[in-house]
Amino acid sequence: MGNSKNTNSVTPRKKRGFFENVVKYRTLILMCIPAIVFFFMFSYMPLPGIWVAFVKYNYGKGIFGSKFIGLQNFEFLASSGKLLTLTKNTILYNLAFILLGNFLAIVMAILLNEMQAKLFKKVAQTMMFLPYFISQVLVGVLVFNLLNYDTGFINGILEAFGLEKWQPYADPNVWPVLLVVIYLWQQTGYNSVVYFAAICGIDAEIIEASKVDGANAFQRIRYIILPSLKPTIIILLLFALGGIVKGNFGLFYNIIGTNSLLYDTTDIIETFVYRATMTDFNFSTASAVGLYQSIVGFVIVMVVNGVIKKIDPEYSLF
């Protein structure tokens, strides 16, 4: 925090050359090197591999030795006639995950922050965090054992009370809600940590000052905590939006599996591609889909970032 005063003191803002900047911020850059190396190795070096989406891939000949076939690998996605439904499902689910997920995470973070009993706070935080560590495969099994018609836990209870049994695995309409609930149960604890950290980072002086001024807990949340969280929220949302076309394969595949009755409301790009290309094990088609998703994601991030820049340049990513 002490550094912020130094940056403040550099008042005359003139354009500096790139190398001048490098020299000036050498310590910062040095600290960034692990991240730079990481991204170079895992995000930039494999980039030429995109080429695989445009060839008929042959194991023996390698990516660049295989035959170039243009856009043929994209054809199956377009000709399935499902591209729109799939993209729509993927985006809508992700929107629900992102918006509700962040909302709930903020609420939880604030509640945790306001809690006075230390032991209860720790226990609550741990319990919320735990589902994050459960493998999606197990989640799928758990859900099946809760919900299935013949031997499921919920149907066992319904039957014991003499109520009519519930058959979710034959009803596509209940799954959007169920999937979002399952996602939130799994992810909220983890997501709230970031917000909790941000709240802890709020200058204690401001909060104390507000207490002296007589603000109650709700006023404190409304006028201090939420505004302080605004940059975090926007950045997290922007990051999440970049992946909005990438579906959560683990969640959907393990819970829905290959139950074609439910595809209308639960089929996302990933699961469709997985099923359709399982039969011929085609790396090229799979990469073509990945590329399609990346491009759409890229466009969305650029547009949203542009809009935010217009509204308030302070909050834009770049």
Binding site: A35, F39, Y59, K61, T232, A276
Partner: protein, 562 residues
């Protein structure tokens, strides 16, 4: 300004947490890694295959005598098969057998064999992925044109093209025992890729295995001989055997064989294998080389099928959430009398109908009998299996393809190696009785001593060496085999390996559509009437391009057979 700094700091933390995510869950980066790995190994392969070409040329020049082959370096040959890796006592038995086998292999060809298992869970993806890695981790690859993607892998360059010289030099007995027309069926683009299991009598046509004694109780004195009989049988079992876990503890994957079976039982359709999961394209027995698509033309029959399956669903033949049931152990449940039916092929029935140690139903109930209703029984529509239902290939990434062939030649043709590899050590895993049949010795424990169930050698069994299993119910089995022999036709498309590059997208889409609808139809889970769902499926298939695929296949078939 402070706000800005905070946001910068936070974005930095986010970058790191994102990076962490990237490592664990970003599928793209991992697949890219694999691609680079593949590239590297691809280079190695070209080197290796260069050497192969040289050495095989050399060998051909120097006359193909086995003694000239350089086997001075001791090598390990990895044999890849589908199956679950044995553990505990079973693994010990397996290792004892392998130690013995490897002694012989070392002496004869200075090589030893190791088994590389592709576990049953998600076996097809793992199988294909292992081949795609091309890192030389496997040499001999058990494969199949109908259930293990032999041709797609051959086309993708995963298998080594086996030249005649190579086969003659390194696998002379196999080369001599397989007739030329069978080798022709193992060729793609003029090169041999597979060594077929063409001297082993087995029937892998599917059907329903059921309790014959219960069928008799149900009033079917002669057993089940049609789909309608099955309805009677299932109804009876559901009402009279409440002790069962399920009538048939089916899982969601059974739809394909059921639908194929219905078509076989009601038409004279003969499917072309290996195009897609569903048997969508094929010919008819009267006119084998004209491509038809029964799923589009046999509307009335399919409607009847949909109605019957709805009835089965109402009876409660399978678990209600059958489409999400992925962990079914139906076959083992059948053995111990927890279910009343199993859908699989004749070969499985030969096991289940025999009073082996594992099949406890026969010991528990002396009246118990297992019958087999085979698909196509009503119309005598039975196709003998293709010789590439089981075959051995050599990985293109193999470092020692010559030695792999030599090892295969021994396992396939040398009685000593064959028996060790298939039955285990004599006296421990099997013994031969007075009639020359294979029996289990005293103290035999089927959970640990059954070598046959561990080496899973389905890629070159040999009836010349095979010893019949005494525990099998041979009277019944021979009876059915004789019946089959009277009505069967040979698989007619053995030489047809279509070039599907231009229609792959359409095949994938058709298969996807068919799978989605057929699952609902085959388990009676559709909403609306049977007519509606069949019409809906046909419209979707039409749109997915089923006719275009048929037209393209017709062109290629004409080029080959006319």
């Amino acid at each position: 300004m402070k706000k800005k700094l905070l946001s910068v700091l936070l974005s930095a933390t986010m970058v790191f947490s994102l990076a962490a995510c990237g490592g664990s869950s970003n599928g793209e980066s991992t697949s890219a890694d694999k691609e680079t790995a593949t590239e590297e190994s691809a280079e190695k392969t070209t080197e290796a295959s260069g050497e192969t070409a040289e050495s095989s040329d050399g060998a051909a020049e120097e006359s193909a005598a086995a003694s000239d082959i350089d086997t001075s370096e001791h090598v390990v040959i990895n044999y890849m098969t589908t199956g679950d890796r044995p553990d505990g006592a079973a693994a010990e038995r397996l290792n004892e057998m392998l130690a013995k086998l490897n002694e012989i292999l070392t002496e004869k060809v200075n090589a030893e064999l190791e088994i590389y298992y592709i576990e049953w869970t998600d076996y097809l993806s793992n199988y294909n992925l292992t081949l795609a890695q091309m890192d030389g981790s496997v040499d001999l690859v058990g494969t199949a044109s109908d259930w293990l993607d032999a041709w797609p892998n051959a086309k993708n360059g995963a298998f080594l093209a086996l030249s005649e010289d190579m086969l003659k030099t390194y696998a002379p007995k196999t080369w001599a025992s397989v007739p030329a027309e069978h080798w022709d069926m193992c060729k793609y683009d003029g090169d041999i890729y597979l060594m077929p299991e063409d001297n082993y009598a087995q029937w892998t046509n599917h059907g329903f295995i059921y309790r014959l004694d219960w069928a008799k109780d149900a009033g079917l004195a002669d057993g089940v001989h049609s789909w309608e009989d099955l309805t009677t049988y299932f109804k009876y079992v559901k009402e009279n055997h409440p002790e069962l876990k399920a009538v048939w503890d089916s899982d969601g994957t059974q739809y394909a064989q059921m639908a194929n079976g219905w078509i076989a039982s009601h038409t004279n359709f003969v499917a072309i294998d290996g195009l897609a999961t569903g048997a969508l394209w094929g010919g008819t027995k009267d006119d084998l080389y004209t491509v038809v698509t029964p799923v589009m033309t046999e509307t009335d029959s399919l409607v009847k099928y949909a109605e019957m399956m709805k009835e089965w669903d109402t009876i409660g033949v399978w678990p209600t959430d059958v489409l999400n049931n992925t962990s079914s152990q139906n076959r083992d449940e059948y053995r111990v009398g927890q279910v009343a039916a199993e859908q699989h092929h004749t070969q499985t029935w030969t096991d289940l109908c025999s009073a082996t140690e594992a099949n406890t139903i026969y010991a528990d109930d002396p009246k118990a009998e297992s019958g087999f209703f085979y698909f196509g029984e009503e119309t005598d529509n039975v196709v003998a299996l293709s010789i590439t239902h089981g075959a051995m290939a050599v990985s293109a990434a193999s470092q020692n393809p010559e030695r792999a062939l030599m090892v295969y030649d021994l396992i396939r043709n040398d009685p000593e190696c064959y028996k060790l590899f298939n039955y285990g050590i004599e006296g421990v895993s099997y013994e031969i009785n007075a009639d020359g049949l294979r029996e289990t010795p005293e103290g035999y424990d089927s959970t640990s001593d059954n070598i046959n169930g561990m080496t899973n050698y389905w890629w070159g069994r040999n009836d010349d060496i095979e010893i019949r299993d005494a525990s099998r119910n041979w009277t019944e089995i021979d009876k059915l085999y004789a019946k089959y022999d009277g009505i069967k036709i040979d698989y007619p498309y053995g030489q047809f390996v279509p070039d599907v590059d231009s229609i792959q997208a359409k095949i994938d889409n058709c298969n996807e559509v068919y799978t989605n609808y057929m699952k609902q139809i085959s388990f009676g889970k559709y909403t609306g009437t049977a007519e509606e769902i069949v019409a809906e499926m046909q419209a979707a298939l039409e749109q997915a391009g089923i006719a275009d695929v048929a037209a393209e296949l017709q062109t290629q078939i004409d080029a080959l057979y006319k």
